[in-house]
């Protein structure tokens, strides 16, 4: 063994500034998501197809007025669910399985910093989704109304609610189970959550239960505001807030990093 080195590896430890670490992590997470074909199918292709298909072809009776005015709010809710819940659950589940979370846990980035970065990545993706879907909806003749602040509040609370549930699933189940369950839940909530099929098509008893689902609260709230020009949809915001608190608390308690 030689006594003198090249000096290349001479220790000079130190963490990068926290904002830089979080920004770098959020950028990488977003890049990974946009590179993943299945994720794009879920977050971009399916919502876009559903919006275009059901707006132009008369398959589901969406009530009086333009179909797109009914559909666009539901599809926005679906976009939030696809990213914050399904996409985040699947990605995080596999990151846990492949030791990515474990490895990052021993890096200078704190665990809460990693979670913050994940949230930022979800928000960036949602912004891109909302821009894309809004442009398409306008092209299909959408005429939204209502208070943008109410819309923003619904989207943020919806994101929080779905993130909590997605992370709870990713942090407790096996990656394969998360993959299967997250897709199944996505499909069930797509059909039964008032996204494209109005909830009043279901039996009265079922309506009351389905109305408490986060996807139903989000699509109903968005529809009240954007289609009917309602004020603050406090009831739906309340439902989302409860889901957010319960989901995030449970995720915080039960999430396992490996």
């Amino acid at each position: 063994m030689t006594a003198t080195g090249t000096g290349m590896y001479t220790p000079r430890p130190g963490a990068a500034p926290l904002p830089r670490m979080i920004a770098a992590q959020a950028a990488l997470e977003t890049k990974m998501l946009l590179r993943n074909g299945e994720q794009l199918l879920l977050t971009v292709v399916i919502p876009t197809l559903l919006l275009v298909l059901f707006s132009t072809v008369d398959i589901v009776d969406t009530g009086a007025g333009e179909a797109v005015d009914f559909l666009a709010p539901g599809i926005l809710a679906l976009a939030v669910m696809s990213t914050a819940f399904t996409g985040q659950a699947i990605a995080t589940g596999f990151e846990r399985r492949y030791g990515v979370l474990k490895r990052l846990a021993s890096s200078p980035l704190p665990r809460w910093g990693l979670m913050t970065a994940k949230t930022l990545s979800v928000l960036v993706t949602e912004i891109l989704q909302v821009i894309l879907l809004t442009v398409i909806a306008f092209a299909l003749g959408w005429s939204p109304q209502g208070n943008p602040v109410a819309v923003l509040l619904l989207l943020v609370l919806g994101t929080a609610a779905f993130s909590g549930l997605g992370l709870l699933m990713a942090g407790t189940l096996k990656a394969e189970a998360t993959l299967a369950a997250a897709n199944l839940v996505f499909l069930l909530l797509l059909v039964g959550g008032g996204v494209i099929v109005p909830l009043d098509k279901f039996p009265a008893g079922a309506q009351d239960v389905l109305g408490l689902l986060p996807i139903a609260a989000l699509s109903d709230g968005l529809r009240d505001v954007l289609q009917h020009g309602a004020g603050m949809p406090w009831g739906d915001l309340g439902i989302l807030a409860v889901w957010a608190v319960v989901g995030l608390a449970a995720a915080g308690k039960f999430f396992r990093w490996e």
Binding site: M1, T4, G5, G7, P13, M21, Q25, G99, R103, P108
Partner: protein
């Protein structure tokens, strides 16, 4: 280099359910390279992962660079580099992308391009992690452990499953780290790896350290060495034995192949060759075998390391 301990483990106990993985383990590692050697399931990974802050001790204390790895994790993490036994990389990321990302989490990282070249990762190109070969994945994990310019690096089985060329590349890097003043704790079940790289070796079995010292100390301690030579078949071994010191043994293993076991020193070698000269024997292929860590391990535990 013999300064303050970089790792101090005292009476560490760690259980998983009813299984005790680490059972009252004591370990002091000083600056330099320390190898934690033991068979699969001995508690190597649990010990190292406790030092990295991943596991909370059931009892006992662990200090790494003077810090508690769980409670003072934020202060410790920037100062250590970690190579997990497997994984740790986004399956859809490219090697350089992940390495650059880890570099960005540190204040004064190494030059990523130089490190990529040094570890031969340049050939990975745009291939995503899941499609890299096992050796490339290992080298990337190694690069991720050192890119932040840590004071102390933990390598968990850094060369498991590598071809000889890749193993030597990893060994060279460990030597370079040591020469530049980086301390290394590595786990391995390869004897030669510990012998080649380590200033100190801790041999672990069933969750305890059963021997600790430099490779030379461990190989010398009480162990007997071997002298072999070939000659004419059917030599009088009894006569040879009489010429040797009392605690030696001699045997003809196969016709014409002889072995002397005992304290092999220059005097013993002279005794054997002069006996041969007296008996008109030309000893060919005479060889002295130093005791290896493999033998030490076998003597201490009665087990093969790579079982």
């Amino acid at each position: 280099m013999r300064s303050e301990p970089v790792v101090q483990v005292q009476a560490l106990v760690k259980r998983y359910g009813t299984k005790t993985a680490v059972d009252g383990l004591d370990l002091v590692a000083r600056a330099g390279v320390t190898a934690v050697l033991g068979p699969n399931g001995a508690g190597k990974t649990t010990t190292v992962e406790t030092c990295e802050g991943y596991r909370k001790p059931d009892s006992g204390t662990v200090r790494v660079l003077g810090l508690d790895p769980v409670r003072q994790s934020a202060a410790l993490r920037p100062r250590i580099g970690v190579m997990l036994q497997s994984g740790g990389v986004y399956s859809g990321s490219r090697a350089d992308e992940m390495l650059r990302h880890v570099a960005r989490l540190h204040a004064h990282p190494l030059d990523v391009d130089a490190l990529i070249e040094r570890l031969g990762l340049g050939s990975c190109g745009r291939t995503t992690y899941r499609r890299l070969s096992g050796g490339q994945q290992q080298r990337l994990a190694l690069a991720m452990a050192v890119v932040g310019r840590p004071e102390l690096v933990f390598l968990d089985e850094p060369t498991a499953g590598l071809d000889p060329q890749a193993r030597h590349a990893t060994w060279d890097l460990v030597r370079d780290l040591r020469a530049d003043g980086v301390s290394v704790i590595l786990t391995t079940h390869y004897m030669d790896e510990a012998e080649q790289l380590a200033d100190d070796v801790a041999i672990i079995d069933a969750g305890r350290v059963i021997a600790h010292g430099s490779p030379e100390e461990l190989c010398r301690g009480g162990a007997e060495n071997t002298l072999r030579f070939t000659g004419r078949p059917g030599l009088d071994v009894g006569s040879l034995l009489k010429a040797l010191p009392a605690d030696c043994s001699a045997a003809e293993l196969t016709p014409g192949s002889y072995r002397v076991v005992g304290k092999v020193d220059p005097q013993l070698l002279a005794t054997v060759t002069s006996w041969c000269a007296q008996h008109g024997v030309m000893p060919e292929r005479i060889s002295v075998e130093r005791h290896t860590l493999e033998d030490v391990f076998l003597e201490l535990t009665g087990k093969e390391l790579r079982s």
